[in-house]
Every structure is written in structure tokens, then in C-alpha cells.
């Protein structure tokens, strides 16, 4: 098991920081969009220039090219090579190890079994679902025999249920393999659920570690808090709520009504009504905007109250908004959580 030590590591997006990840642990860095989380992981993977010293098992790896670092990196996008079969994708991960065909095959079968995706063998990677692709990508990273695993919000693109399931599975797997892991996320709940240790990163600066609870949270994405009244519990595992005259639905988590929260990045905002079911929709007006490198933060008035939403940069560039614009909003029911 490998210990990761960062000494004054930084670049133009990350201020010099010191961090130690104990061997075999899963350490989570949590922070809002644009905080420098991905930049730090790219530095560690050898994909971005940096100053400072990166020690893995006491050995300086900061000057090594990416292919010689023995660091696994799993991002939001699985990046399965579309011209290769699922098996060839996994084999490519074992290139560095120089194994023969029989040994590669054995390792491949072991990993597919370990991740519960043996049934996908022989499938075309293009036809896989988001969760399946991410599992295959994880198997491929593990196949490369990394000493350190870097996870960049790998469950972010998945739907709520798939993400929760895969997260729990990954945690068990990581503990079983004893693989030193550094994960970044903007979701504090996810960070607390998974991490052995936790630190907060904001504007490229390490602000606080979990040893000082509360301090770190001040830098995080502040959730919207909605004071709701529970109207009824439905058989389908849902609860019907009333908020400011609007009817909302949430997953029934066995909690009585009251205050619910929704993360700004979970609210969908657009000029035109979004597709999908006719529930949890609202209309509002943009009252303030803040756009940075990774995201746009939109504050809007809905039924006289303010809601904050966060739009990813690439979505924002497709449909930028201006102050005063009328907008349509949608809250996915799994994102409305009781406090």
C-alpha cells in the first residue's frame, strides 16, 4: 500500500498545498465547481505542469511522464475506446505490465467478476449504459495495476440510483484492494459517505480538513433550503410536497415533512420548458449571475423566494442567460432531500 505526500504542489490553478493521504485510505477533496479539484488530479496524473514535490511511497513521481507513474485516473467521462472491444479496452490497460495473453485473460476475467460485469464480456462498448461504461472504465484502470487511484467525480454523470449503488460497491472494492485513493467531488454528502479523510478546496486553496468541521462547509456549495408541507405519501415510494403553492415530489426517505434541500448543481434551468415528466417544474426570473471558468451560478426568483442554480460551463455556452430573463426550472425528485 502506498502513501501519497504532496509538498507545496501547485500550478496556475492550484495554490501550493501540502497533503498526505495515508496508505490504503480513501481521501476525499470536496469543493465547488472551479475550485481547482480537477486541476490537482491532473497534476498528480502527470497531465498538467506543476511546481512542488509529489511523493508516492516516498519516491518522487512528479517528474515522470504519465505512462510511468503507475497512477490510475478515472474521470466523469469513462473514455472507453470506441474502436476496441471491451476486452481489448481492458488489455490496453495492462500494456505497461508486459503480460502474456493467458495472464491478461485471467486478470481480465478476475476484474470483470470482481466488478460484477462478467455478463458484459464480448459486448460492444458503445452499446453499454452509463453505469456499465463507468464500471468497465474502473476495471480498466484497476487492470493497469495502479499504486494510486485518482477519481474525478466518477459517479456524477450517472442517475441518482446508479450513482448510489456504484458508490457503495466502489467503497467495498477499495477497502478490499487496500488501494490508496484520492477522490474529488462537489457533493459533501458523497464525500462524507465515502471518505476516510476529507479536505475542502476552494479557489485553488486547501481551506480546511475535516478535523475542523463546519469551517470547511462555509466554502462549499450552499444548498437551497425549501420549507415544504407534506401532502401525502404515495405507494410508488414518493412523497407529495407543497412549497410556495407549488406541488413537488420527492423520494420517500421515511422522514416527516419540513425542510428539504436541493443542491444548486442539481437544478436544471433553461429558457424553454425541459422535457420529461410534468412534475417538479417551476417558472422564475433570473435576478443575478456569476460566471466563472467552470460554471455559471444563477440566482432566480421563484414564487417570491430565491433559488440558486449552477449550470456547467459547456451547457451555459449553449444557452447563456441574462439578468431579468424568464426561465423554466426542474428539480429531479431524487435530488430533493430532507434536512
Amino acid at each position: 500500500m502506498a502513501e501519497l505526500r504532496l509538498i507545496r504542489v501547485g500550478n496556475r490553478f492550484v495554490r501550493p498545498l501540502d497533503l498526505t493521504v495515508p496508505p490504503g485510505s480513501l481521501f476525499v477533496l470536496v469543493g465547488p465547481s472551479g475550485a481547482g479539484k480537477t486541476s490537482l488530479l491532473r497534476i498528480l496524473a502527470g497531465l498538467a505542469p506543476h511546481q512542488g514535490s509529489i511523493l508516492l511511497e516516498g519516491r518522487e513521481i512528479g517528474r515522470l511522464p504519465p505512462h510511468r507513474r503507475a497512477v490510475g485516473y478515472l474521470s466523469q467521462e469513462p473514455y472507453l475506446f470506441p474502436h476496441l472491444s471491451l476486452e481489448a479496452n481492458l488489455d490496453l490497460g495492462m500494456t505497461r505490465l508486459g503480460w502474456n495473453k493467458a495472464r491478461r485473460r485471467a486478470r481480465r476475467e478476475e476484474l470483470l467478476e470482481l466488478l460484477g460485469i462478467s455478463h458484459l464480456a464480448g459486448r460492444d462498448t458503445v452499446s453499454l449504459s452509463g453505469g456499465e461504461k463507468q464500471r468497465v472504465a474502473l476495471a480498466r484502470v484497476l487492470a493497469s495495476g495502479p499504486r494510486l487511484l485518482l477519481l474525478d467525480e466518477p459517479f456524477n454523470q450517472l442517475d441518482f440510483r446508479a450513482a448510489r449503488h456504484l458508490r457503495a460497491e466502489f467503497r467495498l472494492l477499495q477497502q478490499r484492494l487496500g488501494l490508496t485513493t484520492l477522490m474529488v467531488t462537489h457533493n459533501l454528502e458523497e464525500a462524507r459517505e465515502l471518505g476516510d479523510g476529507l479536505a475542502v478546496i476552494q479557489k485553488g486553496r486547501l481551506c480546511a480538513e475535516e478535523a475542523a468541521p463546519g469551517e470547511g462547509q462555509a466554502f462549499l456549495e450552499v444548498p437551497n433550503r425549501l420549507d415544504c408541507r407534506t401532502l401525502r405519501t404515495l405507494k410508488e415510494g414518493l412523497v407529495e410536497l407543497e412549497w410556495q403553492g407549488l406541488r413537488l415530489f420527492a423520494l420517500d426517505r421515511g422522514c416527516p415533512g419540513g425542510r428539504f434541500r436541493v443542491q444548486p448543481s442539481d437544478i436544471l434551468v433553461s429558457r424553454t420548458p425541459p422535457g420529461g415528466p410534468e412534475v417538479n417544474r417551476f417558472r422564475g426570473r433570473v435576478c443575478s449571475l456569476e460566471v466563472n471558468r467552470d460554471a455559471a451560478r444563477v440566482e432566480m426568483t421563484v414564487q417570491g423566494l430565491k433559488l440558486r442554480a449552477e449550470i456547467r460551463r459547456r451547457d451555459w455556452e449553449r444557452e447563456p442567460l441574462e439578468e431579468g430573463d424568464p426561465v423554466h426550472g426542474f428539480i429531479p425528485l431524487e435530488c430533493l432531500r430532507p434536512e
Binding site: L47, P65, H67, V71, H83, L92, G93
Partner: protein
């Protein structure tokens, strides 16, 4: 008020009909110059067969030079930043816009006795007025075509694939051969076919560097030129028809290689504005 089909749509169809008739007219005019029997005889003549063999072998030789040169340059340009990159990029495109005749004159002077000709001759390589000169001239014209298509193809590959391969442990050579080249392969192949078709029809630069000697440096376009000049319409027409067949074959190949059968996007029917 403009009506759908008979109004603006109909008006815009007229140039289309005109263009179609022009192309069909050119092909027909070439085909009716000689009777089928004369055409067959001309096709089987020693001169036509030599010109076909010469064109195929010279263009193949040119592609052997142009493909690795074009792909390697395109990869470097698409992945690296360096001072003066834009200037180099524009300079490499120059043969695309340069009149082939001027390119030929430039190559003639460059490989002539006063500059590179002498040292190359000492190495036993004569380019001027030899088939090797034709290979050089055609490679000079084809390389930028291969490079331009390959550069666009490499740039269209999400850099995330390359980074993933690097972190998975693939060295830069393997990243190129196992990831970038296959992902950009179809577009690069389309560029190579286009460049090859261009070399088959190349005339100006080849004429200047390799000359136009019957049964020595006689490519298909040179055969058309020489036989038209001497009034041998049969051989001229048959060589022209062979070239046309090659061009048509290239177009068919491109339709298969380009996503969507060559169409950028399936367009909607002409909107009704009644």
C-alpha cells in the same frame, strides 16, 4: 408570397439542373469522340497501358512519401504548440493554393544542377526528367492534402482519449498507433484517397519536373496532352475516360468513408412559407 416547391425552391433548382447538365455534357462529349471499337483498341494500345501503369506506379510512390510525411506533420501540428506555428502551418499549405506549374518550376530549380541536383546525382539519384522526378512532384502536391485532412481528423479526436491512454501506461508511440491513429483513421483514409486521386490527375508540376517523353515519363494526363497535340483523339479520349473512372471510384470510396455517406447532416425539406 413565395410558394413551396414552385417558388424560391424551384428557382434555386435551376442552377442545380444547369450544373448537372454541364457535368453530364462533359462526360458525354469525351465518350462520343470515338466509337466503342476504337475506344477498346485505344485502351489496349501500348501507349495507354504504359500511361496507366506509369500513373499508378508514380502515384503509389508519391503516396509512400506523402502519407507518412503528411500524417506525422499533422500529428505534430495538432498536438504541440511552438513559436511560429501559424506561419509553419500556412507555409505547409502553400502547395495547395500554388499553381501546379509554378510548383513544378520551383522543384525544377531546386533539384536542378545549381542547387540539390549535383549532390543528389553524386548519390546516384537523378530526378529531373526521370520517373523519380514525377514521384517527387506528385508527393509535393499530395502531402499538404494528406496533412490538412489528417490534422483536422486528429483535432476532432477528444484529447480525453489520449490522456486516458497515457495514464493507463501507454508510451507516446503506442498512444499514437493504438489510440489516435485508429480514432482518426476514417478521415485520414478519406484524405489519402483524395490526395491519391489528385496525384493521378496531376499534370503541371509533373510536366515541369519529369518532362513529357512518350513511353518514358508519360502519365495519363501527359498522354492526353501529347495525343491531343498530335491529333490522336482515340488514345487521348481513352486516357481521359480512364482518369474519369478513377475519379468516380474515388468519389464512391469517399461516400463510404465519410460518416453519413458524405452528407454533413440530413437536411429538412424546403420549408413551406405559404
Amino acid at each position: 408570397m413565395i410558394r413551396s416547391g414552385t417558388g424560391l425552391g424551384g428557382l434555386l433548382a435551376l442552377p442545380l439542373v444547369f450544373l448537372g447538365l454541364m457535368v453530364a455534357g462533359v462526360v458525354t462529349a469525351l465518350a462520343i469522340q470515338v466509337s466503342p471499337a476504337e475506344l477498346w483498341q485505344a485502351l489496349c494500345s501500348e501507349e495507354t497501358l504504359f500511361a496507366l501503369r506509369f500513373s499508378l506506379s508514380v502515384s503509389a510512390g508519391a503516396m509512400v512519401l506523402a502519407v507518412p510525411l503528411g500524417i506525422a506533420s499533422a500529428y505534430y501540428l495538432s498536438r504541440r504548440e511552438f513559436p511560429g506555428k501559424r506561419l509553419v502551418d500556412a507555409l505547409l499549405d502553400l502547395p495547395l493554393v500554388m499553381p501546379p506549374l509554378i510548383a513544378g518550376v520551383g522543384l525544377l530549380f531546386l533539384f536542378g544542377r545549381n542547387l540539390l541536383g549535383e549532390p543528389l546525382a553524386r548519390l546516384g539519384l537523378e530526378l529531373i526528367f526521370t520517373p523519380w522526378g514525377a514521384v517527387t512532384a506528385q508527393a509535393f502536391i499530395a502531402t499538404p492534402i494528406v496533412m490538412r485532412n489528417a490534422k483536422a481528423a486528429f483535432e476532432s479526436v477528444d484529447p480525453g482519449f489520449q490522456e486516458t491512454a497515457m495514464v493507463l501506461g501507454l508510451n507516446p508511440w503506442r498512444v499514437f498507433f493504438r489510440v489516435n491513429l485508429p480514432l482518426a483513421g476514417r478521415s485520414i483514409a478519406a484524405g489519402v484517397i483524395l490526395a491519391w486521386a489528385r496525384t493521378m490527375g496531376e499534370f503541371g508540376a509533373t510536366l515541369m519536373v519529369a518532362g513529357a517523353t512518350r513511353l518514358h515519363t508519360e502519365s495519363l494526363p501527359v498522354a492526353v496532352y501529347l495525343n491531343l497535340a498530335s491529333g490522336e483523339l482515340g488514345i487521348a479520349a481513352s486516357c481521359a475516360l480512364v482518369l474519369l473512372a478513377v475519379c468516380f471510384g474515388v468519389l464512391v470510396c469517399l461516400r463510404f468513408l465519410t460518416p453519413g455517406g458524405g452528407a454533413v447532416k440530413r437536411s429538412r425539406p424546403w420549408p413551406s412559407s405559404a
